[in-house]
C-alpha cells in the first residue's frame, strides 16, 4: 500500500463572510493520478491554489510530501510542479530559455540542465522546437511546453489545472499519453482538475467537491458502482411477453417504441428473464454508468453545464 503524499485535514477557507471550502478531508497516494472534480465555484480552485501555496488557508492542515503548505512554503514549492489553466510561459523567450529559467528558479544543478531539457522535450515531442520562440508555437504546443517545464525539477507532485481545456481531441490524447508515461516512468503523483469525464475515468481516484464540501471520493469504479446503475436496452419481437415477465418479478422498466429500458438492480434476475424469452430478443445492449452519471446524481447537474474553462 502506497503512502499518502498529499494530506488535507479539516481544511477551511473563508473570504470575508463567505465560506469557499468548508472543512474538507482527503488524501492522495503517492504515484496515483488523482482527479478533482466540481462545478465552478465549488472550491476546486481555492483548494488547488492553497495546496500550491498561492492562497493562505483559514483553518486546517495541508501537507505535501510531509511538508506543511503554510509553514514550509519553499519546501512545498520545491516539491511540486504546477501547470495552470492560463499560460504562464515567458512568451518573448525561446522554449529553451523558458526551461533554463525554470532550472534557475528551482536550483537544478547546472551540469544536469541540458540533459533534463533533452529529456522533457523528448517526452512531449518538442525537441526540434527547442530554439524557437514560444510565441511561434500553437496552443497545444504551448501547453506541452508548460507540462515539460513543470517537470524540469523532477517534482514529486504535478498539479494540472484543466490541462486539456481548449485542445483538439488529438492533442488531448497526446497530453494524456505524456501524463501516463510520466506516472509510470517517474512515479510522479498527478493531481488534476478536468471537466472531461472520460479523462477522469482513467484516474486512480476521483474526488467530487460541491458547495465547499467533498461529496464523494473513491476510485471511478467504486463511484460508478455506488451511484449509478447499469442500464439494459432490450429490443424484443414480443413486447407483451417481456413486460409480463418483468412485472411478475417486479422489475421496473420504461417501454419505448423500439426498446425497453431497464435499470439493472440484480443482474442474475435479469438474465433469468432473458433466458425465458430468448427466442423473442432481437437486440440487447448493456450500458455501464459513467462518471458523468455519478456527477449528475450527486450534484444534480452536468459538469459541462457549468461553463467551466471556456
Amino acid at each position: 500500500m502506497s503512502q499518502p503524499i498529499i494530506t488535507v485535514e479539516n481544511f477551511v477557507k473563508k473570504y470575508g463572510g463567505f465560506t469557499a471550502v468548508n472543512n474538507i478531508n482527503f488524501e492522495v497516494d503517492e504515484g496515483h493520478i488523482f482527479a478533482f472534480l466540481g462545478p465552478n465555484g465549488a472550491g476546486k480552485s481555492t483548494t488547488i491554489s492553497t495546496l500550491c501555496t498561492i492562497f493562505e488557508k483559514t483553518e486546517g492542515r495541508l501537507t505535501i510530501d510531509g511538508k506543511d503548505v503554510t509553514t514550509q512554503k519553499n519546501d512545498v514549492r520545491a516539491a511540486i510542479g504546477v501547470v495552470f489553466q492560463d499560460s504562464t510561459l515567458d512568451k518573448k523567450m525561446t522554449v529553451e530559455e523558458n526551461l533554463k529559467m525554470h532550472c534557475v528558479f528551482y536550483k537544478v544543478p547546472k551540469r544536469e540542465v541540458d540533459e533534463r531539457i533533452q529529456f522533457v522535450l523528448k517526452l512531449v515531442d518538442l525537441l526540434e522546437w527547442r530554439k524557437k520562440s514560444v510565441s511561434s508555437l500553437s496552443g497545444g504546443m504551448k501547453r506541452r511546453v508548460e507540462i515539460a517545464r513543470g517537470l524540469m525539477h523532477y517534482p514529486k507532485v504535478l498539479f494540472l489545472d484543466e490541462p486539456t481545456t481548449g485542445l483538439d481531441p488529438q492533442t488531448r490524447a497526446h497530453v494524456w499519453e505524456y501524463v501516463h508515461k510520466l506516472q509510470k516512468e517517474k512515479n510522479i503523483t498527478i493531481f488534476l482538475t478536468t471537466h472531461y469525464m472520460d479523462e477522469a475515468e482513467i484516474c486512480d481516484k476521483v474526488a467530487i467537491i460541491d458547495h465547499g464540501k467533498i461529496i464523494a471520493h473513491d476510485t471511478p469504479f467504486e463511484l460508478k458502482k455506488q451511484y449509478t446503475k447499469d442500464r439494459a436496452y432490450i429490443t424484443t419481437l414480443n413486447p407483451p411477453a417481456l413486460e409480463s415477465l418483468l412485472n411478475e418479478r417486479g422489475i421496473r422498466f420504461i417501454a419505448k417504441e423500439k426498446y425497453h429500458r431497464i435499470d439493472v438492480e440484480d443482474t442474475a434476475e435479469l438474465l433469468d428473464v432473458l433466458a425465458m424469452c430468448k427466442e423473442d430478443i432481437g437486440d440487447i445492449e448493456i450500458r455501464k454508468g459513467t462518471l458523468n452519471d455519478v456527477f449528475l446524481e450527486l450534484t444534480g447537474r452536468e459538469i459541462r453545464e457549468t461553463g467551466e474553462g471556456a
Binding site: 519553499n74 514549492r77 499560460s87 510561459l89 515567458d90 518573448k92 528558479f105
Partner: protein, 278 residues
C-alpha cells in the same frame, strides 16, 4: 543571487530584442538636444551644448528606468509572474532582479547618448569621469526603478501606469533644470524644482560629467550646477544624500508593495472586468 542574475539577464535580452523601442527611446533625447541646445548660454557657461547633453542623459536614464516598471506589469498580466510565485524564489529576489535590470537598461541608453556627446564637443580629461558617470547613471536608474515599481503597484494595470507615469515624468523632467535652467523658472515652479529629486540628480550628474567637482560652491551656483534655496546652497554631496534617501524610501516601499500584491487582481486592461460582465 543566481536568480537575480538570471532575471537581470532576461530583461536585458528583452531590451535588446526590442530594437524598435530602443530607437524611439533615443529619438527624443536628440530632438531635445537640437531644440534646447543653446538655452544654457550665460556669461559663466562656455559650452552650453554639453550642459544640455548632461541634462538629457540623466533625464533619459530617469525616464527609462521609471518606465521599466511597465515590463514588470507585463510579466504579471502575461501570467509569467505566476510561474515565478509558485517557485521557491522569494519576491524580494524578483524585485531586486527587476531593479537591477531597469538600472542597467537605462544606463545603457544613457551611455549611448554620452558617446554621441563626444561628437558635439563633450570633452573629458580623465577616464575616471566615464566611470563616475556610469556609476551615477546606474545609481539614478536604480532609484527611479524603485519609484516606477511603486507607481506600478499602485496603478495595477498598464494603461493607468502609462498615464500616471507620463503625468509624473513630464513635470519632473522640465522642473529639474535638465532642459530649462532653474534660474529661468518662475518663482512658484522654482519651489517645485527644489522639492524635485530629479533636480539634484541633474546638478550632480552635470557637475561630474563636466568635471566641475573642484569648483567652489559659489562658482557651482553661478554655472547652474548647484541649487541655491534662499541663502542655502545644496552641495553635490548633499544632492547625493538627498537622492540616496529618496531612492531608499521608494525601493523599500515598492518592494513591500510588490511582496504583498495579489497578482491575480492585476489586469492587462482596465476594462477587462467590465467586459466580462457584459
Amino acid at each position: 543571487m543566481s536568480v537575480v542574475m538570471a532575471l537581470w539577464f532576461r530583461n536585458l535580452k528583452l531590451f535588446v530584442r526590442n530594437r524598435a523601442a530602443l530607437v524611439f527611446n533615443l529619438i527624443f533625447p536628440f530632438f531635445f538636444l537640437f531644440v534646447f541646445g543653446k538655452i544654457f548660454q550665460n556669461d559663466f557657461i562656455e559650452n552650453p551644448a554639453t550642459y544640455m547633453l548632461a541634462g538629457i542623459i540623466i533625464s533619459t536614464v530617469f525616464d527609462s528606468s521609471l518606465r521599466m516598471a511597465s515590463s514588470t506589469i507585463d510579466d504579471i498580466t502575461s501570467g509569467f509572474m505566476k510561474e515565478v510565485i509558485v517557485s521557491p524564489v522569494s519576491r524580494l529576489t524578483i524585485a531586486t532582479g527587476q531593479f537591477f535590470a531597469a538600472a542597467t537598461v537605462s544606463a545603457i541608453q544613457g551611455v549611448i547618448i554620452f558617446v554621441a556627446g563626444f561628437f558635439i564637443g563633450l570633452k573629458i580629461t580623465t577616464p575616471l569621469t566615464i566611470i563616475y558617470a556610469i556609476l551615477l547613471m546606474v545609481f539614478v536608474g536604480l532609484i527611479f526603478a524603485g519609484f516606477g515599481l511603486f507607481i506600478a503597484t499602485v496603478s495595477k494595470n498598464i494603461q493607468t501606469f502609462q498615464a500616471v507615469s507620463l503625468a509624473i515624468t513630464m513635470p519632473m523632467t522640465f522642473m529639474s533644470g535638465a532642459y530649462i535652467p532653474i534660474s529661468m523658472l518662475p518663482d512658484v515652479l522654482k519651489w517645485v524644482a527644489y522639492f524635485n529629486p530629479m533636480t539634484y540628480a541633474v546638478s550632480l550628474f552635470r557637475t561630474v560629467t563636466l568635471e566641475k567637482t573642484s569648483l567652489s560652491t559659489e562658482q557651482l551656483v553661478l554655472e547652474e550646477l548647484a541649487v541655491k534655496v534662499g541663502s542655502f546652497t545644496v552641495t553635490p554631496m548633499m544632492a547625493f544624500a538627498i537622492l540616496a534617501a529618496f531612492g531608499l524610501v521608494f525601493l523599500v516601499l515598492s518592494t513591500r508593495a510588490f511582496v504583498k500584491i495579489d497578482f491575480s487582481r492585476m489586469n492587462r486592461n482596465k476594462e477587462d472586468s467590465l467586459t466580462e460582465e457584459i
